[in-house]
């Protein structure tokens, strides 16, 4: 599995470098304007970071798409690797590359902002909250990508053509998202128990929804792994 991660990161190296360089150069330019754009510069820096994250997330999705629809799939699916290995390596790669871009974007923002926002946050945030945010960052990437990968794989298996498969995957994603959100809301209403994250503010989390999300992730991860190993036809 670690070899898979190594080669996937190597394959996306230029994309990651390109995005990071764009963020760095963009922020350096904004730093030259920070005196005249006192509010505009940090806002633009935020947008730049957000845009970079969107691009790297799309690149993470193309990781799977390339293997499902392009000739590279012959290289991956003839390796003696299980579906679980393939899925896990995909997710770990995505977490690493998204985290790299996030760290670069946040660091550049802090430099531009001269650490004002960071200091303000650190003064109010507790350590356990910081850990919670980091965990939530990882969880959001992993659970969202697992859900998307599942839709892509189902689309690929159910609809053989490249174009039809991709459109089908999007429709499956759309429908399943509605169903999943509906179920999550229903469970939250049925089991309204909450956990308080922050000791001062009212930041809370619904226990029922959280368990539902974890179970859904487990099912989707295993289902996608199974489909990748036993059902995908190239």
């Amino acid at each position: 599995m670690f070899h898979l991660i190594k080669y996937e990161l190597r394959g996306k190296l230029l994309t990651i470098l390109g995005i990071c360089l764009t963020v760095i150069i963009g922020n350096l330019f904004l730093m030259t304007k920070v005196d005249s754009w006192q509010i505009g510069a940090p806002v633009l820096s935020g947008f730049l970071g957000g845009g970079a994250l969107v691009v790297i997330c799309i690149a993470s999705l193309t990781l799977m798409s390339d293997y499902l629809y392009d000739d590279q799939g012959y290289l991956l699916f003839t390796l003696p690797q299980s579906g679980v290995s393939i899925m896990a390596s995909r997710l770990i790669t995505a977490v690493i590359q998204i985290s790299i871009v996030l760290i670069v974007s946040v660091s550049m923002f802090c430099l531009l902002d001269q650490g004002r926002l960071l200091n303000a946050i650190l003064q109010q945030v507790e350590i356990r909250e910081l850990l919670y945010f980091i965990l939530m960052h990882l969880w959001t990437i992993v659970s969202t990508l697992t859900f998307m990968y599942f839709c892509m794989v189902v689309g690929r298996i159910a609809l053989k053509g490249k174009k039809v498969g991709k459109i089908g995957s999007f429709i499956i994603f759309f429908l399943l998202s509605i169903a999943r959100t509906g179920l999550s809301v229903a469970i939250a209403n049925l089991f309204p128990q909450m956990v308080q994250i922050h000791s001062v503010t009212t930041m809370t989390m619904n226990v029922g929804s959280m368990i539902f999300d974890i179970v859904t992730f487990g099912i989707l991860f295993m289902a996608t792994s199974y489909l990748l190993e036993h059902k995908v036809d190239l």
Binding site: K6, G11, L14, Q72, L75, F77, T78, Q81, D233
Partner: protein
């Protein structure tokens, strides 16, 4: 000698097409089998099922007694007829890739074969011509000590000189403990290396036998026999 590959009533259907209609085929250890047939006869479908990247609709295919999966992929060395190597790779990266993933990969043999094929390890994969890519793919595939080699059109798009080189590489690197299945349209060029041949037509094996016996019994070369079967 045991059967490395056994296929029984193997069927594969797509939405509006039946690519395999109950194909039966066996390959013994130490034998090279030529799977011959015209375009669309089901050759590549059969090989893809054996390589574990396509799943049969019905029937059974066993490699070393097991259904295609993680284990069989570790003992099958498959040469597809696609350009499947990453474009960012240099030749030495591709060698390293195979070394990382296949425990039976022989790096020394790979570099010896690269030299034989006159390929520079520092060349970029995307800068190679079609023939050179074919040689590289073959180098990687033959550098494994696999139980079964599956070569799909190894001579496709390759000039006659390179064909000879590729055939020499196949013969020189084939071990008696392995088996090989090769598909090709260029029957005349390659028939000298076949121990067995199987003719496939419309998803069915219509004739299978020992290459030498077929030549003697029919008093024809395999190429002539191919033309007779598929005329």
């Amino acid at each position: 000698m045991y059967n490395v590959l056994e296929a029984e009533n193997l069927c594969k259907s797509y939405l509006n097409k039946r690519a395999l209609r109950g194909a039966n085929l066996t390959i013994q250890q130490g034998r090279i089998l030529g799977l011959l047939g015209p375009n669309g006869s089901g050759k590549t479908t059969f090989l893809k099922i054996a390589a574990g990247i396509l799943h049969p609709s019905s029937g059974k295919l066993l490699i070393d007694g097991q259904e295609p999966g993680v284990y069989t992929k570790s003992i099958v060395s498959y040469l597809p007829d696609t350009e499947y190597l990453f474009k960012w790779m240099k030749i030495k990266d591709a060698v390293q890739y195979f070394k990382d993933f296949y425990s039976d990969f022989d790096e020394k043999k790979a570099f010896a074969l690269l030299e034989f094929m006159k390929l520079d390890a520092n060349s970029s994969v995307k800068s190679l011509s079609k023939g050179m890519k074919e040689k590289l793919k073959l180098t990687l595939v033959l550098s494994r000590k696999a139980k079964l080699y599956i070569l799909d059109e190894p001579l496709g798009g390759v000039d006659p000189t390179a064909r000879e080189k590729i055939l020499d590489a196949i013969i020189n690197n084939f071990s008696e403990n392995s088996s090989m299945i090769i598909t090709t349209h260029l029957v005349n060029d390659i028939e000298r290396i076949f121990d067995e041949v199987a003719f496939i037509s419309d998803g069915e094996i219509v004739l299978q036998g020992n290459a030498e016996e077929l030549r003697l019994n029919k008093n024809k070369s395999i190429d002539e026999l191919y033309r007779e079967v598929f005329q």
